[in-house]
């Protein structure tokens, strides 16, 4: 008996050693994974910022500057005039805030079927700072894995250990619901590049919370108007069973009216056979669905494979460039609602889309546009505060002014710090130049549209 025990002890020693080794590997692996995401972003910015800086602005100005000169002062010696002119011309437009530094904490979704949503936001956010070129962006990026509890830990670390100036990045409303109160109550400003759940637009609005995208319901409200206008009377609405899913069904119903049936599936679900059977049974005239990311790809593919031919509609989240590309040509001619499309006709958007394509090789999604605008909004507030984010009250005031050239043409905040903006009908087309599937604006659905909750918010203009 004693012998056995001894033998067992030796074995257990070996076992524990094995467990220790295995655990060490695991920890190392986790640490390496984190380090990759941590370091990659700031490294990229640091490298690219100086390169990108001179390109856009000086290129545009010399062209304009020489024209008036000869007219005003034909006799003066052309050479010195030309040299002195551009400098004063450049300075007033860009107040001398060079070398400012801002530390941004970005909690976003870089794994799961929605990984590309977070990637688009992150990449475009970095791109905006590169194109601007004046600020040193210290960006700490972490993947929340769509897990609210984990995201809270990340936020805690960014607020206390990293002491970030501003936070941004959250893709999913359930994550936002957990993290945003934590951030804004700690006195830190949060700029949302995507999720904007209804509670935070109404009674729970906060002076430190700014939304650079849209209030969740807005996307759906535009589609509600369109589907009703098309004369459809019976609709089945589908969405994941979480805050944004409920917002996007509520928004649709607010403008469409009652739907025949609401079907809520699990967040992150990829098998839609059960939901599709329910649609077949209800046999509506149209199907409205909100399935962002991988959920959208899975739903539409299985919907098509099921042989159902009822027309489908949704917000841009269900028809972004990645989803329509995965679905293929059957998505051509499908309609969705958005605040933006890659071919939107304004200068800021042309610069953005072109630079994004050049750097990342794909057409930007609306998520990227939101990340880009979030960064532009932040930059505009830094400009107004002498390049420093330390004065929170000053930052708040400057953010609220929203003095930046949005890729959507115009942008202003409502009293609850959510945008008032136009909503468009988008159609899926094949890009005539680049050959990929993309969205184009075909009509305006709602102009200067507000969200339904602003009146419940106690903040003032």
């Amino acid at each position: 008996m004693g012998g056995t025990t001894n033998l067992r002890r030796t074995r257990s020693w070996w076992l524990w050693r094995a467990v220790a080794i295995v655990a060490t590997f695991g920890i190392l692996a986790a640490a390496c994974g984190d380090d990759d995401t941590d370091d990659a972003a700031p490294a990229e910015t640091a490298e690219a910022a100086p390169e990108a800086a001179p390109e856009p602005e000086p290129a545009a100005e010399p062209e304009a500057a020489p024209e008036p000169e000869p007219v005003e002062e034909p006799e003066a010696a052309p050479e010195p005039a030309e040299e002195t002119e551009p400098e004063p011309a450049a300075e007033p437009e860009e107040p001398a805030v060079v070398g400012g530094q801002v530390k941004v904490g970005m909690i976003t979704t870089l794994s799961t079927g929605a990984a590309y949503l977070g990637e688009g936001i992150r990449d475009a956010f970095i791109l905006a700072f590169e194109l601007d070129g004046r600020y040193e962006l210290d960006l700490i990026v972490e993947d929340d894995g769509r897990d609210p509890a984990f995201a809270q830990q990340l936020a805690d670390r960014m607020l206390t250990r990293d002491e970030v100036d501003v936070m941004t990045g959250i893709v999913f409303s359930n994550v936002a619901g957990a993290v945003v109160p934590q951030v804004v109550n700690a006195g830190t400003i949060y700029i949302s590049p995507n999720a904007a759940p209804s509670p935070f637009a109404g009674a729970q609005c906060h002076e430190n919370y700014f939304v650079a995208s849209w209030q969740n319901d807005n996307q759906a409200e535009a589609m509600g108007v369109y589907v009703a206008d098309q004369g459809y009377e019976s609709v089945v609405a589908l969405a994941p069973n979480y805050q944004a899913g409920h917002d996007l069904v509520a928004g649709f119903k607010r403008f469409f009216g009652e739907v025949d049936e609401e079907i809520y599936t699990e967040l992150g679900a990829t098998d839609y056979a059960q939901a599709i059977a329910q649609i077949r049974e209800a046999n509506p005239e149209a199907v409205y669905f909100f399935y962002p990311g991988g959920m959208g790809i899975a739903f539409v593919q299985q919907y098509i494979a099921s042989g159902l031919e009822i027309p489908i509609f949704g917000p841009m989240s269900s028809f972004d460039e990645v989803i329509v590309d995965a679905i293929g040509d059957v998505s051509l001619g499908l309609f969705n609602s958005s605040f933006w499309a890659p071919d939107m006709d304004n200068e800021a958007n042309r610069v953005f889309v072109e630079a994004y394509r050049e750097k990342y090789g794909t057409t930007p999604t609306a998520y990227a546009a939101q990340g880009y605008d979030a960064a532009l909004l932040l930059i505009s507030a830094l400009d107004a505060n002498g390049g420093s984010a330390s004065d929170t009250a000053g930052m708040r005031e400057a953010l609220k002014a929203a003095d930046f050239d949005s890729v959507r043409g115009k942008f202003r905040f409502n009293t609850n710090n959510h945008p008032i903006q136009d909503w468009y009908l988008l159609e899926v087309i094949r890009d005539p130049v680049h050959g990929d599937l993309t969205n184009t604006i075909v009509a305006t659905i709602l102009e200067d549209h507000e969200d339904a909750y602003a009146s419940d918010c106690s903040l003032t203009g």
Partner: protein
């Protein structure tokens, strides 16, 4: 009526997918007395290898074979390298060690294949619908999954009940030392059982892949469901795994379909839809609780000695 038939088919398809995972788990748990939390990781390995091979070759059959082989090989490595040392250990050691494997596997998969989810497409000849009833087309691929599940259970039944190896397996479940004394190489036998179980998990990963976004951690969900299946069916019982899988597959599907309607009798449709969906996702656990109250050892479990 069509809705009921279609949902029943969906439930059977889910059930047979679960069966492929839980049959291996129940054999390993029941015969080798090993709690293998990494079983879900083998499911994931199968799906990823299939996605990789399918992406390179575009050939589903090749992807299928590669997925099964990949998971079986991964299972062999795990058995020889780790599990073999844990046979005489308490279950806690096994849980700790195999949970570590889950974490390592999830990270390793991220390192090898990245964070972007991959997809596996159904083979072209199954990528269509079959009219099950007039007015009820049903995807051929899902019918093929049901057929595969039936084939798997028939294969396992014949293997365990009708072959000499199966006899050793059955004997090894209750009289391990005696089987060894008769000259059977129990270690090799266990390694084989583990590899077969791993291969089945890989098979499940491949066949389910067209409805999944293949990403790190996809096996974890199936692992939990499979543990529920084998607890409901009775640990170590193939028959239990079969009935347990089908019961839970159908319960989950029917609950998601009919609970919102049922709740709609009492509250407004919007609340009913939300509450119904939430309760439905807990339905399989409710089934488990009921079964365990009535039969504490599961439907076909052996009574404790």
């Amino acid at each position: 009526m069509n809705l009921f038939i279609e949902q029943t088919l969906n439930g059977l398809q889910l059930g047979f997918t679960l069966l492929m995972v839980s049959a291996g788990l129940t054999l390993i748990f029941g015969i080798m007395n090993i709690i293998n939390l990494a079983h879900g990781s083998l499911f994931m390995v199968g799906a990823f290898v299939a996605a990789d091979v399918g992406g390179r070759t575009g050939n589903y059959l090749l992807a299928l074979l590669a997925g099964i082989a990949g998971a079986a090989v991964a299972g062999l490595i795990v058995e020889l390298g780790l599990i073999r040392r844990l046979y005489h250990r308490d279950h806690l050691y096994q849980v700790l060690a195999t949970f570590a494997l889950v974490l390592i596997a999830n990270q390793a998969v991220q390192m090898i294949w990245g964070l972007t989810p991959r997809s596996v497409s159904a083979p072209a000849f199954l990528d269509r619908t079959v009219p099950v009833l007039p007015g009820l087309p049903y995807p051929a691929y899902r019918l093929a999954i049901i057929a595969t599940g039936i084939a798997v259970i028939v294969f396992l039944h014949l293997l365990v009940e009708r072959t000499r190896v199966g006899m050793w397996i059955r004997a090894g479940r209750t009289h391990r030392e005696l089987v060894g004394a008769f000259g059977v190489n129990v270690r090799l036998l266990y390694t084989l059982v583990f590899a077969v179980g791993a291969g089945l998990a890989g098979l499940a990963g491949v066949v389910a892949a067209p409805f999944l976004s293949v990403e790190s951690g996809i096996g974890d969900h199936f692992l939990i469901l499979s543990f529920v299946v084998i607890v409901v069916g009775g640990i170590g019982s193939l028959k239990g795994a079969l009935y347990g899988s089908l019961m839970l597959g159908l319960a989950d599907t029917w609950a998601r379909t009919y609970l919102p309607d049922l709740f709609g009798q009492f509250v407004d449709p919007s609340t009913a839809a939300t509450a119904g969906a939430s309760v439905a996702s807990a339905s399989i656990y409710l089934v488990m609780v009921v079964v365990l109250v009535v039969k504490p050892n599961g439907l076909f479990g052996l009574a404790d000695e």
